[in-house]
Structure formats: structure tokens, C-alpha cells
Amino acid sequence: MDDLDQLEAQSIFILREAYRKLKPLAMLWSLGKDSNVMLWLARKAFLGNVPFPVMHVDTGKKFPEMYKFRDEYTKKWNLELLLGDCPPVEDIDPTLPPAARSAARKTAGLAAMIDKYKLAGVIAGIRRDEQATRAKERVFSPRGAGHKWDVRNQPPEFWDQYATPHEPGMHVRVHPLLSWREIDIWRYIEREDIPLVDLYFAKDGKRYRSLGDQDITSPVESNATTVAEVIAELETSRTSERAGRAMDHESEDAFERLRVAGYL
């Protein structure tokens, strides 16, 4: 088994644990590269089926290409799609810096969906290497009342045994891609031929490396027009993946505050 085989096997194991232990369960589908890989892994785990709904928390500010992609593949992959919307930015904590405040709309939208569907488990495609705060995550990350992430009091997690609390009002975030790196995601996309929104590929010398809302995401300089070229670019790149995400850079603790409150 090479490294991609091992990552794949581990993610499938995690997805099957989540499906067995957490009911009702749903998977976040942000339409980005990581969540497409995650959905692909679910189809591997469940032999072509996706036995739980996928959720799109719609900020209303995604790129048109992303909505088109969502509608096309919902049909093609026979997905049960749950849609949720987000409150207006005026309803969000005004002490957050502007971009973080905008991103926090998604947190509120997600919280509303979790409550509405009484979810015990939410599968999300975050990775440790994306952002330092995400590096602290568990594979199964319990969220207490008000969906709060208690960073300083996380359960032990070892030997593939995961915390699965069943207290009312709690849910568990499940992170099957936690150990994947950005380049692993791209190599797996190449190996499996996983479809993507074409915003990831260069047009006029720029491409998106990470996709968020239109107003707080910017493209990076790049000439990579194919998956193979993206991989080659990443092998020499020394800038971080989320360099184009405004809320990561506003202040040292802005991103952590977002995450404690339930952001991904």
C-alpha cells in the first residue's frame, strides 16, 4: 500500500465508524476540492452509495460555477441534498473583524441546520495542514451545548477509538480528512479522476487555491491548468493554502474564535 492507499483506508474506516455510531448523520458538502474527495471516499466506503444526506450551508455568495456544479452532481451521484441558508451579516457578532464576521454567517447557518435535523454527527472535510487551529482537532470532535468547541478539554483519542457521546444537545464533528495534506488531496483527485469546479484551474494567470465566499476569497498567481500542473506547482510552493482567505489573517486569534464558536 502506498501513502494514498493508507490515507484512503483510514478515511473509509472513519466514515464507517461515523455511520455506525452517529445517527442521524450528515456530510457537509462545500463543493470545494476537499469535500468532493470526502464524498468520493464515502462512495468507496459504502460501495457507490451515500447512505446519509449531504448538506450545503449556502451563504448565497458562492461562485455561480459552484452552484452549477452542485446541481449537476447532486443528480449524477444520486445524493440527498439538504440546503440551509445563513442569517444576514448584521445578525453576527460585530466585534469580529469584517471578513471573519462574514465567514461567521456560515457558522450560524450550520448551527441552525444541525438543530433542525437534530444531527448527532456532522462529517466535515477539514485538514490539519490547512491552518494551525485545525491542527489541534480530533477525528471525532464532540461539540457541547451551543455547538461550542472546547479546545482545552478535548477527549483523548488513540488506537482508533473515538469519543461518541450521546448527550442531548451535543453533536460530533467527524473529520475523515484530518491527516491528508493539500498535495495528497490533489494526487488523489488525479488518481481517481474526481470532478472539480474549474475555478481551481488558472485563467489569465490566476487560479483559486481554496474556495470560499466570493467577497472574502481571492485567487493566487498561477499558470496551472491541469491537475498534474497543480501538483507540480504545490511541490515547489512555499505559501500557505489559505493565503487567499481573508479571515485567516485579520488577527492572531480571529480564526480560533471562529472555530470555538463552531466554524469549520
Binding site: 502506498d2 455511520y19 462512495r43 460501495l47 491542527a135 489541534k136 501538483i231
Partner: protein, 628 residues
């Protein structure tokens, strides 16, 4: 335009954990190592420089790891992080573990999968409490390669004699734990001596630098050539196929192989290996998450091992294990847990604390309890016979984990083996009474037994139980009733209605029923016990003499009766997780007795129940056989 070579297949990264006492220099070591090996993305270096400047410090490499605001303010690393880095063509992942004692569980989270460890020791201070604690943990989680980095040797002016004296102390400590250190590296992380490049200040040292020592860590050994262990993770039914899924922990499978299933030992052949978007497979090896069909189409349970008849796991109901205890309260004999082993979960009780490790000198002593975050050897009594392999470092064998009834992980239990005998004055010795069941039955004129009534809320369980009780008592039967509400008013008043609490409620009811039945009583239990698993647990606890009675009342009738007004409250959304409304009820498949109540008076039904119980507890041939 594509002239890009396809990357060669890569080995998975080797995880390396860095442990050691607080302030002995772990974070500095990691920061320095990443810098020396040019493994930092530009953004990170800029961040560190900026953060250090803001605080008026010279460049502080440890900031790299203290990436959470709260940690940085306290100047300590709280949680473990994973940092990829590369030496030549080989990928590593550095796992940073904290030095603060109360964060042991975070350290385990990071360290448990590591292939090798770097134990950082301040050469000047020598082994401290956390040095010993972490070394103990390395042994218990089974890390085989330990590189000892003697840090801060610049304080000794790189003096060979002093450094070697410090080294002898650490060697003695590790030998006590049966750990053979792979290598000692005298170094200064801050100054960069013997980190990525050879120090010119210690010409007497001929061993490897830290990076050379890391590069020499052997790759994880393959588990594919060991006998098969495939723990069943789940069983799916897609289309018409029944599919058994799980990860192969060791060994391999091939279509046509015969396997033995679980403790019951049914046999089957691997009929197919199923997959999606993968070339058809006829074989699979350790590490792969597989989906198989079996021939004949037997239905294993989650937790069952599939294994070859030629190499079966051990089988026991009493097991000795090492323990690293993660709870903040002590552990005492008599506490019950779930023992998770791979995908299995077994009900266990701590039968004995055999010894506890004293951290001052790592010696083992008898003790009444295992202290918070302590290390011990204990004996577990399992509620049923289970299969297991003894813990072997470098495999997933015997990796037991204890969880409490809230599904919180409270300890790690590397299993040692079958407990042959019990010793020590804290041991639980379930004693056999000198008064035999036969003696009791003779005196009472009937046998004891447990009649477990299950059914929807409002089905009539308590009413029928009380009716049968009156009738049986009138005939001289020593009978009692345990009903849900009575239990919850007293014995179980600390329990709520979460899944874990309901199950605990069932466990306690069954344990009490068993004691009463063993004293010769007829016990009627009236408990919704909605799931098949709940009642299976009760059956296991009670053992012989357990009878499942299904009070079969249509839900509409129950709801119409609604004696406690609960359905109305549940419909109004005032009760969550109410059985029959928004929580499922799993009817028994083959109850010992089914009582339909819709079209009969409760008097008639209670009489039928009393008659059935009377028949089942009659002094008859079974007891006669026992006597002879």
C-alpha cells in the same frame, strides 16, 4: 505544455513523537529541526519572526507550535500538533506532545501511533517526573524505537564526562521499563549542535546527529504476514447482498479462504471482495478497509473477529491488563466499564488492582486505588467470554480502551493475557454460596428466575406484573417486581434518559434481578427496554433462568390508554426520545412468552402470565437433574 513527471508512489510518512519534561526543550527542538531542514513554509517563518518581535524576544522557535492564542499567552503547549517534514526522500510527521502533567491525554492522542520517539532530557536537570511518566507511557503504548536527546549540553561546556554521567542515569531508568534506547544524541537544540549538522564542539562523539538517527528509524513493519485478524466493523445490506465490512488489522484475505467468526466460532468462506471504483480484487492485506461477502451467508456482529482456524485468538472472561488511567479521579475495584478492543465492546468490571506504579522510582506496589493519571496492572472480569490477543508493540493486538457509561475514554489497557488466578486483598472474589440453589428451591417450594417484561410505554407491563405478583404470592411463591419507575425513584435516580443512561438502567435492573433470583426469588422485571441489545445485555447478566416476555400491545392502544399522560406530552414535543414516538422500539423476535393485551382483560392476561411463571419455576426435572 505538460512536462511534469508523475510523482513516484510514496511511502506513508513515519510518525515521530517528541516527549520529555516541561522546559527541557521539545518545542525549541522541533522549531530548530524544521528550520535546519528547510521545512517551513514562508508564511510560518514570517509569523514566528513577527510574533517574537511583538513580544520583544529574539526569534523563538517554539512559537511555531504554540499556535493557539491561549497557549501562547500562557507560554505552554497545550495539545499535540502534527508537522510534516522531510529528510531526503523520506517523509516524517512530527507529533509534539505537551509537558504539562494534566494534559497526559493529549500526549497519548498524539503519541499512540508513533513509530519512534525522541525523549528530550535536559542534561543538566536529568530525568524529572514527566520524563519518567512519558517514558512509562512509551512503554505502555508500545513504541519500540526511542532516541534520547541529551539537550542543553552547552551548559556543561560540552564536557564528555558530565554528559556520559547523565546518559548513564537515563539508561538505568529506561532499563527499568524494559526500554532499550536506540541511541543517545548529545545536543543543544537552541545552538543547533548535533541537530541537522555535526557539532564541532564534541569531537569525541562519534554517533549520529538527530537527523541521522531519525533517518535510521526502520519503516513500519508489515503486518500482512501475521495470521488474519479482521474485526467486523459493520454489516450492510445493499441491493440483495449482505456485506461485511472492516479493516484488516493483520494478515490477509483471499477469495475462497475459510475464516472462523467470533466467539461462537461459525465458519464461512470469503465469497467475494466488494469494492467501488477500484479494479476487482481477489485478495487484500493488513491496513486495507475491505467489504466482503461470506458463503454461507452468516451474519456476524460488529466486534466479531474473523480469523483462521489455525491461529485463533485467546479466549477468556477474566483478563489481566496494564493500564494507563486518564481520569482525574482515582479508579477503584468494582467499577464497571466498557472494554473496547478493535470494534468490539465488552462489559467489564475491575476485579482487582494487582499493582500500581510509583512514579518517583517507577517501582510497582500493591494499592487500594489507581491514582488520577496513574499506571497500574489490573484484572478485568468480563460479562461474557471474549476473544483477544495480548498486546504486541508495532501491531494493533491487545489495544484495549476503557470507556465509561457516557462513552468517554478513561483509560488505555494494553492487554497482558488470561488472568489465571486472583490475588491481593482488594480483589473481587465472587463467592459461591454454601447454600445451593437446590437447597433454596427445596425450602421455598419453587425455583428462582427472572421474567423480563418488555413492551411499549403504556403496554400494561406494570399492571400485569403486579397482577401476576398478587396471584403468585397467594400461592406461596416468593415473588417481587422491579419496575422502571420504582427503580428510577431509588437505585437509578442518578440516571437520565440518554442512550447510555438507559442502558445503565437496564444493567442495574438485570444485576439486581440476578442477585434476587440467585437467592431463590421469582423476579418480574417491567422495563420498556426498547432495544434488542438492551435485552441481550440483561440476558447475559442474568444468565440461566432469564425469560423474555413481550407485552404486545398496538401503539394506538397504548396511546389511547396513556396512563401517565406521557404520549400526550411526547406528541406535544415536551419529551424527547420517547419510545414509540421519536425513539424506536425493537420488538423481540423470539420471546419466551408473547402476551397480546388489546382484546383480553388485564385479569385474564395476568392469570396467563402467572400460570406461565408458575410453570417455569416449578420444582421439576431440571432441578432433580441438578441434584443428582
Amino acid at each position: 505544455m505538460s512536462t511534469i513527471p508523475t510523482p513516484a508512489p510514496q511511502e506513508a510518512a513515519t510518525p515521530i513523537v517528541i516527549v520529555g519534561h516541561v522546559d527541557h526543550g521539545k518545542s525549541t527542538l522541533i522549531g530548530r529541526l524544521l528550520y535546519d531542514t528547510d521545512s517551513l513554509p514562508d508564511g510560518r517563518v514570517a509569523q514566528i519572526i513577527e510574533s517574537s518581535k511583538k513580544r520583544g524576544l529574539t526569534v523563538e522557535w517554539s512559537f511555531l507550535l504554540d499556535s493557539l492564542q491561549i497557549e501562547r499567552d500562557q507560554g505552554v503547549t497545550v495539545d499535540s500538533t502534527r508537522i510534516p517534514f522531510r529528510l531526503g526522500t523520506r517523509q516524517f510527521v512530527i507529533v509534539d506532545a505537551p509537558g504539562h502533567r494534566q494534559f497526559l491525554r493529549n500526549m497519548i492522542t498524539g503519541a499512540a501511533d508513533a513509530e519512534a520517539a525522541v525523549l528530550v532530557v535536559d542534561a543538566n536537570e536529568g530525568a524529572q517526573e514527566q520524563t519518567r511518566r512519558h517514558a512509562m507511557l512509551l512503554r505502555l503504548i508500545g513504541i519500540r524505537h526511542v532516541i534520547v536527546l541529551m539537550n542543553k549540553v552547552d551548559i556543561f561546556n560540552y564536557d564528555q564526562k558530565k554528559i556520559e554521567a547523565a546518559e548513564r542515569d537515563i539508561t538505568a531508568l529506561l532499563h527499568q521499563l524494559e526500554i532499550e534506547p536506540t541511541v543517545f544524541v548529545p545536543a543543544s537544540a537552541r545552538e543547533g549542535d548535533n541537530m541537522a549538522s555535526r557539532s564541532d564542539k564534541m569531537p569525541w562523539y562519534k554517533g549520529p546527529t538527530l537527523t541521522e538517527a531519525l533517518a535510521a528509524v526502520p519503516a513500519p513493519s508489515s503486518r500482512a504476514d501475521l495470521p488474519l485478524r479482521l474485526p467486523v466493523q459493520d454489516v450492510y445490506r445493499f441491493d440483495t447482498k449482505r456485506i461485511v465490512v472492516g479493516r484488516i488489522e493483520r494478515g490477509r484475505i483471499r477469495v475462497g479462504d475459510e475464516v472462523v467468526i467470533g466467539v461462537h466460532g461459525a465458519r464461512a468462506r470469503i465469497a467475494t471482495i466488494e469494492s467501488w471504483h477500484t479494479a476487482p480484487q481477489v485478495a487484500a492485506i493488513a491496513g486495507q478497509s475491505v467489504a466482503v461477502t461470506l458463503e454461507p451467508d452468516v451474519i456476524p456482529d460488529r466486534g466479531d473477529f474473523l480469523y483462521p482456524a489455525s491461529a485463533a485468538p485467546l479466549r477468556a472472561a477474566r483478563i489481566r491488563t496494564r493500564l494507563f488511567w486518564l481520569r482525574q479521579e482515582p479508579l477503584r475495584v468494582g467499577e464497571s466499564f466498557k472494554l473496547r478492543l478493535a470494534t468490539a465492546e465488552h462489559q467489564v468490571t475491575v476485579a482487582a488492582i494487582d499493582s500500581v506504579v510509583r512514579l518517583e522510582d517507577l517501582t510497582e506496589h500493591p494499592a487500594e486505588e489507581v491514582p488520577p493519571e496513574g499506571f497500574a496492572e489490573i484484572t478485568l472480569a468480563v460479562s461474557e467470554t471474549m476473544l483477544f490477543d495480548a498486546f504486541v508493540p508495532g501491531t494493533s493486538d491487545g489495544r484495549g480502551v476503557l470507556v465509561d457509561r457516557n462513552q468517554q475514554i478513561v483509560g488505555g489497557a494494553p492487554l497482558i493475557g488470561i488472568a489465571e488466578s486472583v490475588a491481593g486483598r482488594n480483589a473481587i472474589h465472587p463467592t459461591d454460596s454454601a447454600v445451593s440453589l437446590w437447597d433454596r428451591a427445596q425450602a421455598k417450594g419453587h425455583r428462582g428466575g427472572v421474567f423480563w417484561m418488555t413492551g411499549l410505554p403504556g403496554a400494561g407491563k406494570s399492571t400485569l406484573a403486579r397482577g401476576a405478583e398478587t396471584r403468585l404470592f397467594a400461592r406461596g411463591v416468593d415473588v417481587s417486581v422491579l419496575d422502571g419507575d420504582t427503580l428510577r425513584a431509588g437505585l437509578c435516580s442518578d440516571l437520565g434518559f440518554s442512550e447510555a443512561d438507559r442502558r445503565e438502567n437496564v444493567r442495574r435492573a438485570a444485576a439486581v434481578a440476578r442477585i434476587l433470583a440467585e437467592s431463590g426469588q421469582v423476579v418480574i422485571v417491567a422495563l420498556i427496554s426498547p432495544t434488542i441489545a438492551d435485552r441481550e445485555l440483561a440476558r447475559q447478566i442474568v444468565g440461566e433462568g432469564f425469560h423474555e416476555i413481550f407485552i404486545d400491545t398496538p401503539q394506538a392502544t397504548c396511546e389511547e390508554r396513556d396512563p401517565k399522560g406521557l404520549y400526550a406530552a411526547a406528541r406535544a414535543g415536551k419529551i424527547e426520545g420517547f419510545t414509540g414516538i421519536d425513539a424506536p422500539y425493537e420488538a423481540p423476535v423470539k420471546p419466551a412468552l408473547r402476551l397480546e393485551t388489546a382484546n383480553a382483560s388485564s385479569d385474564e392476561t395476568a392469570a396467563r402470565l402467572a400460570a406461565f411463571i408458575g410453570e417455569e419455576t416449578r420444582l421439576d426435572g431440571a432441578v432433580q437433574r441438578q441434584k443428582s
